[in-house]
Symmetry: D2
Subunit: 199 residues, 4 copies
């Protein structure tokens, strides 16, 4: 079983991404469960706006990994309490998957699961979780209970994740729980899959 | 396996609720799958504000049904593009369930699934779906892919569901798909359950 | 000029509401500007669900104050990253004001301004601000720039406002700014009012 | 007085954008009020992700127009009930304006107003309005009452704006009202401006 974590940070390599630090915890927990985990730093790829599978940019390479992954995690910083524009673009490009079905007529994302990792300078994580979860559910992903973790230190614009130790324990433990929940539900759906939509 | 549909319409009995008309489709589809379905017209019950299991009102009776149900559907009209205040109150009272665990340390809602039914005079369903889905996921419910249906007729405040036939077919078919997805994922989780949260 | 602050806390009197502590700062700042400020503890009033001006409950008394106020502040705790069900109910009942116009055909809320105060145990304030602001704008209230303040201490469910001094300074200063912005824009609209809607 | 409308459609020139058709109504109504209106088709510009004023792309040219405009309208299609990734990117880049103040210490966006135009295939406009309005208010823009218009035709993914005449009248009239409200509040703020934030 494979997982893909799309790190949608704005931080360019080689600077360390705050989001990546929390992503690492989730990835490690999934690997301990025997999952193959790919992590893509989306900002390294040229992803153009649009709602098609696309050509002329690097989305097809990301999409190829996404097609192989039963587990998808969208990891994003918050800016203005929103996902990064890179996360939005990824979800926008995934729009094309809504109409894609397998040989049994099931949408692409059925029997796949999605989760969310958020880091921010400030309040906003629940807003981001709501938005990303709803997008994933629309496309057909199942979002397991408590399949997310986040970190910020409100109120007010405050330090970044890597600038403090404040409550890392909680965010990391919550991230390990999210990883376990994603793996458990992905495995349950592999054994007991969803049917094709109603006629 | 049991399902509970909480119809959070503002419409008082015996007037027919628009939301109920679409709820009936989802309930029938679940019953065809062999599920026992309870539908509660929440407005008939005195549910006070708060975040406790409560006493002194009729929430405990609703909660007793909720405890027996592996499948929960929140059905709500939209007003100002939001869930009804009755739906918000139900979710507020369910807050107490976050801290409740079974003998294995798993939150109450683990291995239960949640879905959403929305009817409105106007645009707003996706806003409601986002909000209710996020609340359910926070509490620990798993939200299956495409486990919702909705109806409205935008733009502008328009007719109610029962006042027109416009696109009922789509909303009903989407409702049957939601029912099937809820049942499939609930059964998958019964066979392959989620573990207790990480230490 | 008059302001009404609706404190939508779940906390029953005489226990002190966390939200009230931050409300007091905003109210004091408005009074210093010469504004008459009423603060209503909504939980003390029986407000039934619905979208009518109503009778048979205590909403009409709240509504009478609301009609006199050029400035409205919705103050609410966050539960599950949402406004309290009391705040939702207030906004739901305000729905009736959308169709109410003055002798010049202007919706009730034109030339009135709205703001938001949020306190919580955890991340979620921006979600609440978005939801309340959009509701107020729909009804016709103008929401001035940065007309809100909030407090919480993420990540994870943490202490209440009154249990810590953490960053009170920021939330209070932001609250004084919100008060000043509400007063300035209310005064500007009194001098240069919005017209009736387009035919 | 100047207005800037940022059309954040995904549609590449020279194909006609659905969003542009509704934008034209809002622009015409503002011009009738004597406002100079610029409309920028953002997709024609290379705007990179990030939260800085930037260099190395075409954002600075858009930003120059934005600095001259007392009125800003974000116009966007909905995809997955969200603003386009182009709209998100614009708002992300505007994040840099939060910290920018004038000689009196007032944030850049104080005394400027913002509005929203949305077109979509499906339900989602109110979600978009909430998100964009909150972002603008955070930055310091004032959002006048009912300063938005939208069009879609729910439920289900349906026709585009230009493919049908369904309820164009309502969306256009609502757009003219939004234009009038934006102009009126911008003028009121020019006469009676907001002060610098509290110390």
């Amino acid at each position: 079983m494979r997982a893909l974590i799309l790190n949608c940070t704005l931080t360019a390599r080689p600077e360390q991404s705050n989001t990546e630090a929390l992503v690492d915890v989730v990835a490690a927990a999934m690997r301990q469960e025997g999952i193959d985990v790919d992590v893509v730093h989306v900002a390294d790829n040229d992803v153009k706006p649009g709602v098609s599978d696309g050509e002329g940019d690097e989305w097809p390479a990301v999409l190829a990994l996404l097609r192989n992954a039963e587990i998808l995690v969208i990891a994003t910083p918050t800016w203005r309490s929103q996902p990064s524009s890179i996360a939005e673009r990824v979800l926008e490009r995934m729009d094309a998957l809504i109409a894609e079905t397998d040989e049994q007529g099931r949408p692409f994302a059925y029997n796949r699961v999605g989760g969310i990792v958020v880091t921010g300078h400030e309040d906003g994580a629940h807003y981001v979780i709501a938005e990303v979860a709803r997008s994933l559910i629309d496309i057909g992903y199942t979002v397991p209970g408590q399949a997310w973790t986040y970190w910020n230190m409100g109120p007010r614009p405050g330090p970044s994740y890597l600038e403090t130790d404040h409550e890392h324990d909680w965010s990391e433990r919550t991230g390990r729980t999210a990883a376990a929940n994603l793996v458990a539900v992905a495995r349950a759906l592999a054994e007991g899959p969803m049917p094709a939509p109603a006629e």
